[in-house]
């Protein structure tokens, strides 16, 4: 295939590749949504597919010395690609799982920084996760037929890894001058720093998101109790985090059992929640059960430290017939 034939074929097949790129992005995005992720927050750069420019494709196919293609058109796998940029290493794992769990496409794991680090533990260089995915059978998406085996390259990386890639790709890879060893050394140092920082970010996030609530699986358990009582799925809001935060010292492995025992004793609770469902923003949240329990068993500290408006607590005090008067 000469260069003209190559480009003609590419121009003809572009719509098919575009459809495949769009399909892959759509699939992963909906997987993230199912995971409860807000795409605008989770993806640090809006994701879109990118078709390779004609010139850049020709360069890669015919001019690059480091690539020795026999069948460049089919061997070049990044004719369409998409890049997912996230904040944390753990976020990368979430996307990888979505990709790996789709049995309708073939997956080539071309690059993973974990593997690279094991292979070259002394090297600090470009880090990212690359996959090439291909549909196992022909499929139709948005009116285009995508042939089985059409490749799409996925790059998944953290924001910091991305920053490093931008620098190396634009400033070094495309540099018109020979890059001096000193520059390579500086860039390698920055990668070492980035890897360290990514680890710290993950560690910090784990500490932030891990406390007694997570340790004892309180939220899920309490949601179940709430659903059993009311037949309504609780919709938890930020206000409940404020309450949990205030009374964190009361959370332990016994709490759920105590609350379960408590709601069995006061049978009216489910009905009361349903009747008052729209009265304030706490009734639709499962934490209302914790507040009821506190009113009966940890009243003093509840009244002293209650973090929301007092009228919210008054409403619960009426439900449980508990006096809020304190001796001054």
């Amino acid at each position: 295939m000469n260069e003209n034939e190559f480009i003609d074929k590419w121009n003809a097949e572009k719509p098919q590749y575009a459809a495949w790129g769009a399909y892959v992005i759509e699939y992963i995005s909906s997987g993230l949504l199912k995971n409860g992720k807000n795409l605008n927050e989770f993806l640090k750069i809006p994701v879109k597919y990118r078709l390779k420019e004609n010139q850049s494709l020709l360069d890669k196919a015919f001019s690059r010395k480091d690539k020795n293609y026999k069948d460049p058109y089919n061997e070049i796998e990044d004719k369409v690609g998409a890049r997912f940029v996230v904040l944390l290493i753990d976020d990368i794992r979430i996307i990888c799982e979505i990709v790996l769990n789709n049995s309708n496409w073939d997956i080539d794991s071309c690059k993973h920084f974990d593997v690279d680090r094991d292979r070259d533990p002394l090297l600090f260089t470009y880090q990212s996760v690359h996959f090439v995915v291909r549909p196992k059978t022909d499929l139709t998406s948005n009116g285009s037929t995508i042939k089985a085996g059409t490749p799409c390259e996925l790059q998944i990386r953290t924001l910091l890894q991305h920053a490093h890639a931008e620098l190396t790709h634009d400033a070094i890879y495309k540099s018109k001058r020979t890059v001096k060893p000193k520059v390579h050394r500086i860039v390698a140092k920055s990668m070492a720093l980035i890897e360290t920082t990514d680890d710290f970010f993950s560690e910090a996030t784990r500490y932030l998101n891990y406390g007694p609530l997570q340790e004892h699986n309180i939220l899920t358990e309490l949601d179940n109790v709430y659903f059993l009582l009311t037949n309504i799925k609780p919709s938890n809001q930020k206000s409940s985090l404020v309450i949990w935060d205030t009374f964190e010292q009361l959370i332990d492995e016994n709490l759920i059992n105590l609350i379960k025992k408590f709601v069995n004793k006061y049978e009216h609770i489910g009905e009361t929640i349903k009747q008052n469902y729209n009265n304030n923003s706490v009734y639709p949240q499962s934490i209302v059960l914790f507040v009821y329990w506190m009113l009966k068993h940890r009243r003093t500290i509840l009244i002293r430290d209650w973090p929301l408006h007092m009228s919210v607590l008054e409403s619960f005090a009426i439900d449980m017939s508990v006096s809020l008067q304190v001796d001054s």
Partner: protein, 364 residues
């Protein structure tokens, strides 16, 4: 008292007056309609009722002694069955009875709120009476143009959150009872919430309300409940994860609370808020509730524990005993736990250092 599902159905308000300077009564002012509250006013009203009578309140369970067919308890028994028109009419009798009972010139007038409704899962009836003293306050006014704030003096306001300014009495129909009832106590659980009653020597000041007006007396079970309170509180303190000297202090405090404190009522909340930190307060209240001690206040009667309260005792395993009159113990005996010499097996031991701030007067 567990007042869940509290539904207030009818409210009627009459007004009573202070006696004239000559000591004469003035007829109460009768109201001819039910009072209707909007939702937020009703919520606030319910909150007042629960603050006064609900769990952890200062309400005290009483007993009906006036079983007379003309007495207030019999009147209440009839009132709850009446239709609205007759309820409004007959409830005026309550205001008249209160006027008569307010025998001293110093007792202020106020309004009498009589209300009925249902409570609990079994939807039993209740009737409650609030006597709210009128006091003065300021109302915030804001000029719509300048947004400037000024205060307007309001001479008569009622039922502010401060429970010091109202007295509440309530009759709660019991979940089950045999009919016909000969003793009204079989049918009704009665409570009063009166700030005065829990004050030092408050009984006398509140007497006109609970006795003359309502026909209540202190329940016969007071002495038993008081004893149970004392024993369970002692147990709780001895199980606390604090050192012996702190325990000794707390036991001294308990003795003082039972013996010397002049209030005629006691309550778990009251005791715990005086002597424990916030976390321990909640644990204490929970412990006491589990032990069956009332969650509201109750009247104090130390008859069954008088002898125990006289002496504080500390015993050791080898039959060593220290005993002293409670007030002497509190001031003259200091106890401290110290590490002792290891025993024969080398295990650590705990010794007790006792300081008695006195010389020995006699030895046998």
């Amino acid at each position: 008292m567990l007042l869940t599902n509290l539904d207030i159905e009818r409210i009627v308000i009459h007004q009573v007056f202070q006696r004239t300077s000559e000591g004469l009564t003035k007829d109460p002012l009768q109201s001819h309609d039910l009072t209707k509250f909007d939702t937020s006013a009703m919520t606030a009203f319910k909150l007042r009722v629960i603050d006064a009578l609900g769990e952890s309140s200062k309400a005290v369970q009483m007993q009906i002694y006036n079983q007379d067919s003309n007495g207030l308890p019999s009147l209440v028994d009839k009132l709850v069955e009446l239709d609205d028109t007759n309820f409004i009419l007959e409830s005026y009798e309550i205001a008249k009875k209160l006027t008569t009972a307010q025998s001293k010139k110093s007792i202020p007038g106020g309004i009498v709120v009589v209300f009925t409704g249902k409570y609990g899962v079994s939807r039993k009836k209740f009737l409650a009476v609030i006597k709210a003293e009128v006091h003065s306050a300021y109302e915030k006014l804001q000029d719509p143009q300048t947004q400037e704030i000024s205060l307007k003096f309001v001479e008569e306001v009622l039922l502010t959150p401060s429970s010091k300014l109202y007295k509440t009495a309530a009759f709660f129909e019991k979940a089950s009872y045999a009919t016909p009832t000969t003793d009204l106590n079989d049918k009704w659980t009665v409570l009063i919430s009166d700030y005065q009653i829990s004050q030092s020597d408050g009984k006398a000041a509140a007497h006109y309300f609970y006795s003359e007006f309502l026909g209540f007396c202190y329940p016969e079970t007071s002495a038993r409940t008081t004893k149970a309170f004392y024993e369970n509180a002692s147990d709780f303190i001895s199980q606390l994860p604090v050192n012996e000297s702190k325990k000794s202090d707390l036991l001294n405090a308990l003795t003082t609370y039972m013996k010397t404190d002049l209030s005629s009522t006691i309550s778990c909340n009251d005791f715990s808020s005086k002597y424990f930190d916030v976390n321990t307060q909640d644990l204490f209240n929970e412990y006491m509730e589990d032990a069956g001690i009332p969650t509201t206040a109750f009247t104090k009667d130390i008859e069954h524990i008088a002898s125990k309260l006289k002496f504080r005792k500390v015993s050791f395993s080898k039959n060593v005993k220290i005993s002293a009159p409670s007030d002497v113990f509190k001031d003259y005996v200091e106890i401290e736990t110290i590490p002792g010499a290891p025993d024969a097996t080398g295990s650590p031991t705990v010794w007790t250092k006792v300081i008695i701030k006195d010389r020995i007067s006699n030895q046998e």
